[in-house]
């Protein structure tokens, strides 16, 4: 009988001898080429989302009103493609199983018009149906991509930002209260003056200015679409920050937050609200941070974790620091920063503060996880399909043709989304 194990040992040695081993210099060169490719990929994504100049082309999409009979299930309406690769520009979940996505088509060229938007809906993450086209306002001064806001299980808003007014949160808006079957235009003034004392449930915050100011704003505030009508309103008492940028939605524990400067200084500060924006706790940050920053905040078990990223001279996102607060934002402690000589961490996306106590960030497609409260991180072998974002129902990672969703940061479900 053949001695298989002995022969396997010999084969192992033969194979090892036969495998060519490139010079280590080739590995170093490959590393340099990876970094160059990654910069180009991140730049391409940023270009898709960037606001560009005024679009001279008029577009209009007619939407048929529904018949006055018992409501029909969403029809599958596929618009003729106008070119460009369709992609999912946004996705938002109502709960662990159901949500909506916007599919964008026709975004190509240097200065494209607003893309054709189709609303997709799911109630099990397994199958997606086309709820219908989203009517694109007949405007020449709005962004290419619409922004989807899910106010409730069947209530939706799509906003298009104004390309000229940098401080206006939205310049065109449509609202639906039947899951996207029908839409109506909602006028949004350049300066929103209707103020409410608290952020309504389901609302998403955007920066706005209380006075008309094309390029800078001395009276910053936050605006949102009101459930029930989609009308624009502003928060009566925004946090006392200069140039504040809010988190669009609250953390898992209901904390609203914003990052900005202490007025009159260049010092960064976080403001946190635990009462839907009625009052804010503002804390200057005692951390060595660059001037150009963006942040995201997540929470788990009452602990807030903030990731703070800046741009290097090449424009790449660099994770600069991670901070932690155990007292609703009254105090913040920097738990992690890039070590001296450490390779830059080009992280796009939010932290994941999971129900098992771990905290992770992605340097796509790799995941680094901390088991000691965000002090140290190790490569843990997991991969994400795309950058992670926080939605009201959980964490979402969107890839090219598929995504994954987790309500608690521990258990993830993969799903595929229809692009045609």
């Amino acid at each position: 009988m053949p001695d298989v194990e002995r022969q396997l040992s010999i084969l192992r040695d033969e194979l090892r001898a036969a495998v060519p081993e490139p010079d280590l210099g080739a590995v170093v060169e490959r590393h340099r080429q990876r970094r160059t490719r990654r910069r180009m990929q991140i730049g391409a994504v940023a270009a898709v989302l960037a606001v560009s100049g005024v679009v001279p082309i008029l577009r209009q999409l007619d939407v048929e009103p529904p018949p006055a009979t018992p409501p029909a299930p969403p029809t599958v309406t596929t618009l003729p493609a106008t070119g460009g690769t369709p992609f999912i520009s946004q996705m938002s979940f109502v709960d662990e199983d159901s949500g909506y996505a916007l599919r964008c088509e026709g975004l190509e060229g240097d200065d494209p018009p607003p893309c054709q938007l189709t609303l997709l809906a799911t109630d099990d993450l397994e199958s997606w149906v086309e709820a219908g086209p989203v009517p694109v306002p007949e405007r020449t001064d709005i962004d290419h991509l619409g922004r989807l806001i899910v106010l409730g299980p069947d209530e939706l808003v799509v906003d298009w930002a104004n390309l000229g007014e940098q401080t206006s949160s939205a310049s065109a808006r449509v609202h639906s209260d039947d899951g996207g079957r029908t839409w109506r235009n909602v006028p949004v003034p350049a300066v929103v003056t209707d103020a409410v004392p608290a952020i309504p449930e389901g609302a998403q915050l955007q920066r706005a200015c209380a006075t008309s100011a094309p390029y800078s704003c001395s009276t910053p505030t936050f605006t949102f679409a009101l459930p029930g009508s989609g009308a624009a309103a502003v928060l009566a008492d925004p946090p006392p920050l200069a140039n504040p940028v809010p988190g669009e939605i609250p953390t898992a524990d209901g904390h609203w937050w914003a990052l900005g400067h202490v007025p009159g200084t260049a010092r960064w500060a976080f403001s946190v609200s635990t009462d839907d924006g009625r009052t804010w706790t503002t804390t200057p940050l005692d951390a060595d941070l660059p001037q150009n920053l963006w942040a995201s905040v997540v929470s788990q078990g009452g602990i807030l974790y903030a990731s703070v990223s800046g741009a290097d001279p090449l424009g790449d996102n660099e994770l600069q620091a991670i901070l932690r607060s155990e007292d609703d934002g009254r105090t913040w402690r920097q738990t992690w920063k890039l070590a001296e000589g450490e390779d830059l961490v080009q992280s796009v996306g939010t932290l994941v503060a999971a129900a098992d106590g771990t905290v992770s960030f992605d340097e796509f497609p790799w995941t680094y996880t901390s088991t000691d409260g965000a002090r140290t991180f190790e490569l843990d072998g997991r991969e994400r399909l795309g950058p992670v974002s926080w939605t009201r129902a959980g964490y979402l990672a969107l890839g090219d043709r598929s995504g994954e969703f987790s309500p608690d940061g521990v258990d993830w479900r993969q799903f595929e989304i229809p692009l045609e």
Binding site: M1, P2, V4, E5, Q7, L8, S9, I10, L11, R12, E14, L15, R16, A18, V19, P20, E21, P22, L24, G25, A26, V27, V28, R30, H31, R34, R35, A339, G341, E342, D343, P365, W366, E378, L379, G381, E383, R401, S402, E416
Partner: protein, 164 residues
């Protein structure tokens, strides 16, 4: 080049073994070499972190395994999108050696048995590590290895008899 002696030692000491690890997961030696080179490029970019790891080789092996899995998922997704049955990649020409029959017999095993055999016998990984990589219990690893050995022995015996 200033990578430090430790990185060069890591590379020279583990490259070939890691290629065979990737081979166990992909079934394609050319792809396995590509994956391993990519993994070392990733490790080079994080060499400070890798040097501080408990086992730098295990760190790079994790990257190898992840890359191999990712390519397998992409292939499976493409198969689904094109509505075709999952197929093992065409086996590349085997490297020259005396045990071509055995190598051909390994490539003829089902994907599950081939992975276990290559990871344990050719990449020299303990059964616990094989179980971790394949995400199966150690008992299942041992069972697959036992059945694979029996299948390989039968295949080799048949070929010996044919030649005789």
């Amino acid at each position: 080049m200033t990578t430090g002696d430790w990185f060069a030692s890591l590379y020279q000491g583990s490259y070939r073994s890691l290629v065979l690890t990737a081979y166990g997961l992909t079934g394609d030696l050319g792809e396995a070499e590509e994956i391993t080179q990519e993994a070392f490029a990733v490790a080079y970019g994080r060499r400070t972190r890798v040097e501080g790891a408990d086992s730098p080789e295990a760190w790079v092996r994790t990257v190898v395994v992840n890359l191999a899995r990712r390519r397998g998922r992409r292939r499976a997704m493409l198969d689904r999108l094109l509505r075709r049955g999952a197929a093992d990649p065409e086996p590349p020409p085997a490297p020259a050696g005396e045990h071509l029959d055995l190598h051909a017999a390994i490539r003829g095993l089902s994907r599950e048995y081939r992975a276990a055999v290559v990871l344990h016998y050719l990449a020299d990984l303990p059964v616990e590590e094989v179980g971790s990589i394949l995400d199966i219990p150690v008992g299942t690893v041992k069972s697959r290895l036992s059945r694979a050995r029996a299948a390989l022995a039968e295949q080799l015996r048949t070929e010996e008899a044919d030649r005789a």
